[in-house]
Symmetry: C2
Subunit: 558 residues, 2 copies
């Protein structure tokens, strides 16, 4: 069996005009702003709180993933096709892909096989310019900071050594991680150490995804905490009068983007914050837009459920008063083998024993989802290397826990391959959904909030704080940031903060090394390990194998 | 008399849907790609060589400008309105504004008063993402260079000390002019000195503006000269297999943008290369698009006619086989006072004596335009401080040279204020136009080409080459780049390379300090002075006074 590449499948699709996709959501052509024939922006005026309450939100998350990822986006898109197949009006709401990794190893992030959103090239490249707008807003603030330090007359007395705000670029460019700026004499500013993060890691991106409207966006941008003056007073973006200009740069980026799936169902794609140091899910505005226009909204959050779902439920849903009615836990037989101890070279070799052992990881995630008062459905994202007995084992084991596990064949078959999954989700939504409850209240003490996540979700025995983290806690207290949400930064490879502890580790201690603040996003970010904020390119970058012809037809983009 | 701000005038305008603007060019709705309701991209398939030949190209340039600029863009837009008023089908074709200066002092570049292109906020901000695309393509090449140096297996042996290729960002950010990258250990690449230019200064922008189609764009991107290996062999972007990925990033940016003037006439805005180190005019594709769709095309080129018109005629028109039939020389009474010796505080005080003396500058520009076998028209861009006798003097003096000089009141009155200018232009186009001739052939020896420009256009007595420039000439010869065009980098404030020599200097020597190469653009760039490629922000940046409300309405953008 030979498979077409993702881009070949996407290019073979004759796309529907975006006005017809909008029509499926009962949005008139005059109400959308087209970006070419196949992309559009939706005005915020379409958000309708009453409809949001009555429609159904489904979160797709995963067990603890292998480095290749377990296909949350592909399952989300596939499930949406399946829901439409069985007569539900469903929209998939996703994050925007980052451009940087497209030229590296990972490639794009618009689904795969027969579960893709299209036009995939545009979505993976500049799309409607949202990432660029975030980058510009972030870097305008940087320029204003260095300009203020340079200025003789308009100077806030910022201590350059305390500046926490970094520049960003949507490129995998390791040489920009650690740089010295302002060299070359007095005309070029004041020399200081700096660095670039990838744009997805910008707090502006996190803020865009938390904002409720332009006014709230502006407020949050002004609240960005930059560093300290020489007198140790905190400095915020509003002190540089930066928030209006930054919001001006984001005035279009705040509007969600409408595209389509391969089966011509609506897809709303908006925002792309990092999943390791930020919330890793699409904008609140996009989720609300989906729920205002569609009876079912399928969405996803980055990495495993211990990170993505935890943040989706405790941060996003709690803040935005969303009520997810079902959580789909994506599992792959491959990942279960991994958690059972299989080496990477044996990931594709059937091994029931390993799957049995690895199931403990999935079981912990199932238990965790139930702590939020939500019923999970397990989607087994089908691979050709899966054996029948491994799949049957997972289905039966889940059944013994009262959970329906369904083979999801969206990659190979599109919506035809996800009818069963769709039925299982509808069953939970219609028959088992209640009001979800977050695990903690934002107003609780910071260390309480951190402990709840570490113990309840990760399964840690206790939490330790480094000297640095203890200093950070005191600073948070002094600055009055106690009521912020906890946005954990932890390896995605393990429930613990040690990436080598696979399966369902127990009795471990979690160490908070330091704690960052994203005051505009209202996040306290405990750092449990080294976080990568600027990826590098591989020795042979994907860019080397890309081509484009004179008609603009691209190959080699994945 | 109180005047509304540019943005207030622009916001008061009820815009026509862009499909109706396209209809004026006989382009069907299905043939454009809308970016919202008021912007669109035009497909390259609309370019028609036959029509280009039969339609009329008018270049707007200026006398040697004061720092405030003399209003070329405003006159270009106004003239287009006037041409349409007198029954000609005219389109204005302009450069895209750079975002960086919008937050600095200069503000936007979408015309002024009642001669503007709209939506001015969008045009001045991200527009359709072309600048961002250029920035990404430029910086992808940078990342590939540093990645190649870092790679153990895929290494071209590039000597980091020889790298000429810089990163770019569309921001006024002086702290990035001179930086050190690759710090922090072996995982972060190889340390080297680097810097950011503003995006308009990227060779990718120059290339985009010279390219004839995607294939040619790709070829030019591959031809970018990066630096040398340790064995002193030249390294090009194609050696990094970068040209396809870079072209992929530019696949939408290569398409010209359609917007409208305040009087609902078509405006094509595309490309924005620096006028000091690059060609400073819109893309060849945009100019050809205009001429394919419109009987009259009004376009402009940066700075005074010694720079902008010289490059437009010798580089762009010669390469693209365009035939400009009339050149409009924009003059202001203010600038004539300046060239007559008025101090800046007296720019707005009538002074016939100074204007009489300053006229020598305009006279030299008139003589220069005629060297290309083109008849000029002088547009006196009207200011309230102009006295009748000064204006009459200029009109009569021009008449004595056989040149029609006309008061242009587009800023205050739109097309009603430029009817006379339009008639004067039509008179030249219909009665005096012949085949223009460039001043030099690209195939001539490099130093011959430089001397022709310096002596014929600047009025220099001779040209001297620094030691560095002589080395650069030998390198150009070794690399086989002799047949490139000359793209002069000289102060815009004087005909000479000394900004303090106002009026019509004579008997001076021009010194070529060094010579740069833009091999993809096919430019040899003699540097006659210090060129600014990364502006800074002022002490109180314009961003501080901008506001945006919850409906997205902006103020303070100019």
């Amino acid at each position: 069996m030979t498979h077409l590449s993702d881009i070949a499948i996407a290019q073979a699709k004759r796309l529907e005009h975006i006005k017809n996709i909008a029509a499926k959501l009962k949005v008139e052509e005059d109400n959308i702003e087209m970006y070419g024939k196949y992309k559009a922006k939706l005005p915020l005026s379409l958000i309708d709180d009453k409809k949001i309450e009555n429609n159904n939100l489904v979160l797709v998350t995963a067990l603890t993933p292998t480095p290749a990822g377990e296909g949350k986006t592909t399952v989300s898109i596939g499930l949406t096709e399946g829901l439409n197949k069985i007569g539900k009006q469903a929209t998939v709401v996703l994050r925007e892909p980052s451009l940087g990794p497209v030229f590296g190893i990972k490639g794009g992030a618009a689904g795969g096989g027969y579960s893709q959103v299209v036009p995939m090239e545009d979505i993976n490249l500049h799309f409607t310019g949202d990432f660029s707008a975030v980058e510009k807003a972030n870097n305008l603030l940087s320029a204003l900071i260095d300009n203020n330090i340079q200025s003789k007359t308009n100077n806030l007395n910022i201590d350059p050594r305390t500046i926490l705000w970094k520049r960003v670029i949507d490129m995998n460019d390791r040489a920009l991680r650690d740089i010295t700026i302002g060299l070359g004499g007095t005309a070029n500013g004041v020399p200081r150490q700096d660095g670039f993060n990838i744009t997805a890691a910008s707090e502006v991106m996190a803020i865009l995804c938390m904002a409720s409207d332009l006014e709230n966006l502006k407020k949050r941008l002004g609240d960005i905490f930059i560093g300290f003056t020489y007198k140790n007073e905190p400095v915020f973006a509003r002190d540089l009068k930066a928030e209006n200009a930054m919001a001006i740069l984001l005035k279009e980026a705040i509007k969600p983007n409408l595209v389509q799936t391969l089966e011509e169902n609506p897809a709303i794609i908006h925002g792309g914050p990092f999943a390791n140091i930020a919330q890793g899910t699409n904008t609140i505005i996009a989720t609300k837009m989906g729920l205002s226009l569609s009876n079912y909204v399928v969405t996803e959050a980055g990495f495993g459920a211990d990170l993505g779902a935890e943040k989706f439920l405790n941060i996003k849903s709690q803040f935005a008063k969303l009520n997810p009615k079902c959580v789909v836990l994506v599992a792959t037989i491959r990942a279960l083998r991994h958690h059972g101890g299989a080496k990477s070279e044996a990931y594709n070799t059937p091994d029931l024993e390993k799957v049995t052992e690895g199931f403990k990881n999935l079981e912990k995630h199932i238990e965790n989802i139930r702590k939020y008062n939500i019923e999970p459905v397990v989607a087994i994202n089908s691979f050709v290397s899966d054996s029948d007995e491994e799949v049957s084992f997972v289905i039966e084991k889940c059944a013994s826990l009262g959970v329906e596990a369904v083979l999801s064949e969206g990659w190979a078959k599109g919506g035809e391959g996800t009818r069963d999954l769709a039925k299982a989700v509808v069953n939970v939504v219609e028959n088992k959904a209640t009001q979800y409850k977050p695990l903690y209240d934002w107003k609780s003490p910071v260390t309480d909030k951190i402990e709840i996540i570490a113990k309840e979700i990760y399964g840690a025995k206790n939490v330790e704080y480094s000297k640095q983290a203890q200093l950070n806690l005191r600073r948070i207290n002094r600055l009055g940031f106690n009521d912020f949400a906890i946005c954990m930064a932890k390896t995605q490879k393990s429930f613990s903060d040690n990436e080598f502890l696979i399966g369902r580790p127990e009795g471990f201690t979690v160490t908070v090394r330091e704690i960052e603040i994203a005051a505009g996003a209202q996040f306290i970010i405990p750092i449990l390990g080294k976080m990568m904020r600027m990826p590098g390119l591989p020795s042979v970058p994907a860019s080397e194998n890309m081509t484009i012809d004179n008609n603009g037809v691209i190959s080699g983009l994945s």
